[in-house]
Symmetry: C2
Subunit: 132 residues, 2 copies
């Protein structure tokens, strides 16, 4: 059994940040669960364009307020606590935070921890990371 | 993109209950994400013995207070908001809720929605469900 505490990990190298967000990796590929699990905090007033071409991701809002725009359909959905979105079509999207958002995120395949967001908003596929 | 709201689903057949817990299935196998994602609420004062022999499960505490005992090692861990446990060894365990626990749960393989807890605290493997 693995037991980890967000409050312990958020000041370690399991917390990956840029200026506008921090993602604490509670589970990564080497935990061999078949998915990774992250708690991601997005700063109030921030906007993010992502497209996980190589991953399925689900995102559940624990706290905060924002919106997501599906760039395939141009539909916008409000995000409040209890709302989940799942990028089952690897949907390119804009995520906006009006109030600081805290989100529980699952990735399949699991993130290794070595990924960085590329210019197109994606993470590399696991096989590309291995050969990099 | 799939968008669902816990508060809409909790009064539908996506909420599975017994006397002591309710699990709202935000994502199931037929969403084809490769995992399922549930928000599970455990009543204050309840105790549960589970052993997911056929699944990996991670559980993140959103709110509440309780503990988990690993029946393999007899270690007990406190559960408070921010604590995650992951049953990477299909660990048989007792989960106790002192105050109502709200937990974000990921299952791999994904739960289909047709499973029931068997006497041993497990869910059937997907292939056994199909042939049932």
């Amino acid at each position: 059994m693995i037991v980890r505490n967000f409050h312990d990990l958020k000041d370690t190298d399991r917390a990956v940040s840029d200026a506008q967000w921090t993602s604490v990796r509670m589970l990564l590929a080497d935990d061999k669960m078949g998915f990774s699990f992250h708690i991601t905090t997005l700063k109030a007033g921030s906007e993010h364009t992502f497209e996980y071409k190589n991953h399925f991701e689900s995102v559940y809002c624990i706290s905060g307020k924002g919106s997501i725009t599906d760039l395939g359909t141009n539909e916008t959905h409000e995000i409040t606590p209890g709302v989940m979105y799942a990028l089952n079509l690897h949907d390119r999207h804009i995520l906006r935070s009006e109030e600081e958002l805290v989100m529980a995120c699952c990735f399949n395949p699991p993130v290794t921890g070595a990924e960085v967001h590329r210019e197109d908003g994606s993470y590399a596929a696991p096989e590309d990371l291995e050969s990099a």
